[in-house]
């Protein structure tokens, strides 16, 4: 039998060019490039795909990354679950009339609708999301904010997540306790039955699974804010990012 590798291989030996190696190295190069420029490229990819993804009867395009799709994040092991019947929203703290509202109480209050882009601090953006719910300022009005109050401390029923807003921010016209988004009820993974929507700020401010709004007289930084994210998370003017503002 053979004494050389080539003959021992019999069928091919060392003939041919090492394309396999080039493919692997090429992929690694592209991957590294993508990590560096992906932040800038994905906007272009998204706009290039938008004509397809917006007129797609199959729904398959919802699987395409960056083409205006929400990503689901949570900070707890289990996605929390609460039915509309079980749902309660508490407004308390420095207020004259603490409130406990069921889902139907919320929907029978004056409703506001907003259409805004949703921008995540990790880079993805969903254009023209429709939101419906109760303005935070109407809730605060109903409860009656006491003198000396300056901030809101907002709690999620996932048991871990919190957020903060100043009273001035909370009284803007683009701050909702939302029970509809994307033309339907807020789904469980999107933070249903009721979540916060903070129009002008990065997505982490729009707390999911809204349970309690506590009116306080000091800043209590939220879950990500104690982990280094900006408290005032204006889109395009915080967290070292320059995205186009959403409100």
């Amino acid at each position: 039998m053979a004494t050389q590798d080539g003959n021992a291989l019999g069928d091919l030996g060392d003939a041919g060019t090492p394309i396999g190696r080039r493919v692997v190295l090429g992929m690694l190069g592209l991957g590294a490039l993508g990590i560096v420029v992906g932040d800038r490229v994905q906007g272009a990819v998204e706009s290039a795909l938008r004509p397809v993804t917006q007129n797609d009867p199959t729904g398959l395009s919802s699987f395409v990354p960056t083409a205006g799709r929400f990503r689901i994040y949570s900070v707890t092991a289990q996605l929390p679950e609460r039915s509309r019947d079980e749902y309660r929203l508490t407004v308390d703290g420095l207020v004259e009339r603490p409130l406990t509202l069921g889902f139907d109480d919320l929907t029978s209050m004056p409703q506001s609708e907003l259409v805004r882009d949703f921008q995540c601090v990790t880079g993805w953006r969903v254009p023209d999301v429709r939101w419906k719910g109760v303005l935070l300022r109407d809730l605060l009005e109903e409860a009656g904010v006491s003198d000396g109050a300056t901030h809101l401390r907002i709690w999620s029923f996932d048991g871990a997540y919190t957020e903060s807003l100043t009273l001035d921010q909370a009284r803007r016209g683009d701050m909702l306790a939302a029970h509809e988004m994307l033309d339907g009820p807020v789904s469980r993974e999107q933070g249903g039955p009721v979540r916060l929507f903070v129009g002008p700020m990065y997505g982490y401010k729009s707390l999911k699974w809204l349970e309690r709004i506590e009116v306080v007289d000091a800043l209590h930084p939220g879950y990500w804010e104690v982990r280094g994210y900006d408290v005032d998370a204006w889109v395009g003017r915080s967290n070292g990012r320059d995205d186009e503002p959403t409100s």
């Binding site: 019999g10 003939a15 041919g16 692997v24 090429g26 690694l28 699987f63 929400f70 996605l79 993805w124």
Partner: protein
């Protein structure tokens, strides 16, 4: 002296018309890698599709499984190179890595031309293996940036997510194609399941390889349709050093080892 002892090891043929295609180490490498990749694919899909995430609920558990399976992807390859069995792996890796002009013709014509030139691996198999070898480090690096983002600038995290998502979609497509083609070619699938293929299949699909696999079949007298496959652990020089109980295993195999169910 043989340069590729495990390759050339004279294992008794298990039956008339059968030739050894993959060693046990290679099959273990293939299926262990496949298990890790499929686990990542399924858990990744659950994490990626919101309603599915909600349906499964236990997002942290799914995420942990995804991360562990991802980090495990290169382990089989490392182990395949770590022992005496490495020769068979190394020889096939070399075959997979090199492309001839005939490979290009075969690929461009989607398997219609240059069929007589195909060696142990066709161009599709070569492309598949190169993709998987490139995919694994990309997914591990980008996945690690996503999982442990603290040291990285925000733009790198975004870029890593971007690369991870698109590479995942490419991997779904490649793996789905790989599985469909394997299912449509039972002879090939059987090679990866049992280690053995029929000579007629090999001559049809991999003629240049089949031509180098000994004389056209004349079965050893005493072996009737044994199922134990090609054994790369067998001493290369025909001696008995190593594992004296090998023969027992082979005999067991011949009498109805569970692997038999893969035979037709």
């Amino acid at each position: 002296m043989r340069a590729q002892p495990a390759e050339a090891a004279a294992t008794p043929s298990p039956g008339p018309g059968l030739i050894a295609r993959f060693s046990r180490a290679e099959r273990a490498l293939h299926w262990a890698t496949a298990a890790a990749v499929l686990t990542c694919a399924v858990t990744g899909f659950v994490l990626y599709v919101g309603p599915l995430t909600a349906l499964v609920g236990r997002r942290t558990l799914v995420k942990d499984v995804h991360v562990v399976a991802g980090l495990a992807m290169p382990v089989p390859l490392a182990l395949a190179y770590a022992g005496r069995w490495r020769d068979s792996v190394r020889a096939d890796v070399r075959r997979l890595a090199r492309w001839t002009a005939a490979d290009r013709r075969w690929l461009v014509s989607r398997g219609r031309e240059a069929t007589g030139e195909v060696g142990k691996f066709n161009a599709g198999q070569k492309a598949n293996s190169a993709f998987v070898l490139g995919m694994i480090p990309i997914m591990i690096v980008t996945g690690s940036i996503m999982r442990w983002p603290d040291p990285f600038a925000l733009s790198y995290r975004t870029g890593a997510t971007f690369v991870h998502d698109w590479t995942a979609i490419a991997t779904w497509v490649v793996v789905a194609g790989h599985v469909l083609i394997a299912l449509s070619d039972p002879g090939s699938l059987r090679g990866m399941l049992t280690g053995w293929v029929t000579r007629s299949w090999a001559e049809r699909r991999h003629p240049r390889w089949a031509a180098g696999q000994g004389p056209p079949s004349t079965p050893p007298v005493s072996m009737k349709r044994a199922t134990a496959p090609y054994d790369d652990r067998r001493p290369a020089h025909g001696g008995t050093r190593g594992r004296p109980h090998r023969g027992q295993e082979l005999a067991q195999g011949a009498r109805g080892h569970p692997r038999r169910r893969h035979r037709r």
